[in-house]
């Protein structure tokens, strides 16, 4: 079976712009959560978010792309630039344009751009709506813009499954490489920190209404009362391992080794949620027993019920306290389709450095029986990591990454 390596990372996260800044902040336990500045949140019940700091799109992108892109697409384009540069594929490398594709995850599209144009529509009329609205709001826009900018015309697509979609996109990228593509730029960058996007997010009732960034998002803690959303995510270069070895790819973060996805039974069925099965499918796909997993990056909904369900799934597979679990997203918030790719990036960096990044602010509920890594990074010999992600409506996905070797 074709093996797939991650040969490049691009990170735009609320606690760090660029992989190095993000990883340094994450190991130091520095959070990027704070009161929203991108619009005035005073009249909304939830007012905290993770905003990507210090991002000036004009410094990174050509002027032609500015009028036609939402903020989150600009972040995605820059993350893709960085990932491809690290992979040594900025100009495409040895590959033909049809051997390279793009598969990203999305949850909302360009809401900020869309809101502005809808306001133009109802306040001034249709002739005041930007021609670029035709695609700038759309779920597939990041895939399309990355594809155009980098001349990648191979198999491409977009996956929409809320937080779980970030792993599903990586799995779809792996599938496309197994079908013959050499490189797929994948992952997800998301964000809709504008009134329209905020109203949509509030509708789930799952957002934290706390006003203290240090206590607003406390997964696996008795005080858990919702999550803080954020913007950003990660773009990963996935590459056929043989081709990467042949061109002597400069960086090998690790292998995408296993994947599983399930869907929950209908609410009220009384049946077990699908997360445990997703984990078991991913482990089987990776050819590893539970004991082969060195660390778990949890989904961490930040709500009592879903947290309990995740802890129960972990206990069922690994035994109580049977594996170190961590939630670096306590420092970024939940990034929707960008969240799981960022966790995969963190997992690969953890494998590289032999350090499990910490969960911040959380006092673990002992009843959940988790070995949660809190406060400071935990040194450990790491070979294999499991990343979990659940999406609104019943999506469960699990991905195993293994150190390249």
């Amino acid at each position: 079976m074709t093996r797939i390596w991650v040969t490049g990372l691009g990170v735009t996260a609320p606690n760090g712009l660029g992989t190095d800044d993000y990883w340094a902040a994450t190991l130091a336990g520095r959070s990027g959560l704070g009161r929203i500045t991108r619009f005035d949140p005073a009249r909304y019940p939830a007012q905290l978010a993770g905003e990507v700091p210090g991002f000036d799109a004009r410094r990174h992108l050509p002027g032609r792309l500015i009028p036609q892109t939402d903020h989150m697409t600009r972040l995605a384009l820059v993350a893709a630039d960085w990932a491809l540069a690290e992979a040594g594929l900025a100009g495409g490398g040895p590959y033909g344009e049809y051997e390279m594709g793009v598969v990203t995850a999305a949850s909302s599209g360009g809401f900020e751009f869309g809101q502005r144009e809808l306001q133009n529509l109802w306040s001034k009329g249709g002739r005041h709506v930007s021609a670029y609205q035709s695609f700038a709001w759309f779920y597939a826009v990041n895939t399309g813009q990355i594809s155009i900018r980098n001349g990648m015309r191979g198999p491409s697509g977009v996956v929409v499954a809320d937080q779980a979609g970030g792993l599903d996109a990586l799995a779809q990228a792996r599938r496309q490489i197994r079908r013959g593509a050499r490189v797929i730029v994948s992952g997800g960058v998301d964000g809709s920190l504008c009134p329209w996007g905020w109203a949509a997010q509030l509708s789930t009732g799952a957002l934290s209404t706390g006003d203290d960034p240090a206590t607003a998002y406390l997964p696996f803690d008795r005080r858990a009362a919702g999550y803080v959303p954020g913007e950003g995510g990660a773009v990963l270069v996935l590459e056929d391992a043989e081709s990467a070895a042949r061109r002597d790819a400069p960086v090998r973060y690790g292998e995408v080794a296993g994947y599983g996805a399930t869907f929950d039974p209908p609410p009220g069925s009384g049946r077990e949620p699908g997360l445990r099965r997703a984990i078991e499918i991913a482990l089987a796909d990776a050819g590893t027993a539970a004991a082969g997993i060195d660390v778990v990056f949890a989904d961490a909904a930040g709500l009592a019920g879903p947290d309990r369900a995740e802890a129960a799934a972990l206990a069922a597979v690994f035994g109580p306290g049977g594996v170190p679990v961590t939630v670096p997203k306590t420092m970024t918030g939940r990034l929707y389709s960008g969240g799981a790719p960022l966790d995969v990036a963190a997992a690969l960096l953890a494998l590289r450095d032999g350090l499990i990044p910490p969960t911040v602010n959380v006092v673990p509920d002992p009843a959940l029986g988790l070995d949660l890594v809190t406060g400071v990074p935990r040194p450990a010999p790491l070979k294999t990591a499991l990343v979990l992600a659940r999406g609104h409506g019943g999506f469960n996905s699990a991905l195993v990454v293994r150190a390249a070797g």
């Binding site: 050509p62 032609r64 009028p67 036609q68 002739r127």
Partner: protein, 90 residues
């Protein structure tokens, strides 16, 4: 001239900038009158957006074809200013 002023090259430069931005390597302030829009980095969507802004600013209606079939700034200025003349003559 009638009620409609003329669309000049400096006007067009400003509107192109606002509508579609400028690529690095494109000197929009240089001698661009007879350069192909494609060589200036503008595709048909960029021209549609530019046309929409001209319409809004000058209170005219332009045919989509008229805009996107103009290959150069000179051709676009000509087609827009002919429209102004038609309106003023009517």
């Amino acid at each position: 001239m009638g009620d409609h002023e003329e669309l000049t090259l400096p006007d067009l430069r400003r509107i192109l900038r606002e509508a579609a931005g400028v690529n690095e390597g494109t000197d929009l302030d240089g001698e661009i009158l007879d350069l192909d829009f494609e060589d200036l980095g503008y595709d048909s969507l960029a021209l549609l957006e530019t046309g929409a802004r001209i319409e809004r600013e000058y209170g005219v209606r332009l045919e989509d074809d008229a805009i996107t079939s103009a290959r150069t700034p000179r051709a676009l200025l000509t087609v827009v200013n002919l429209t102004f003349t038609d309106i003023d003559a009517a």
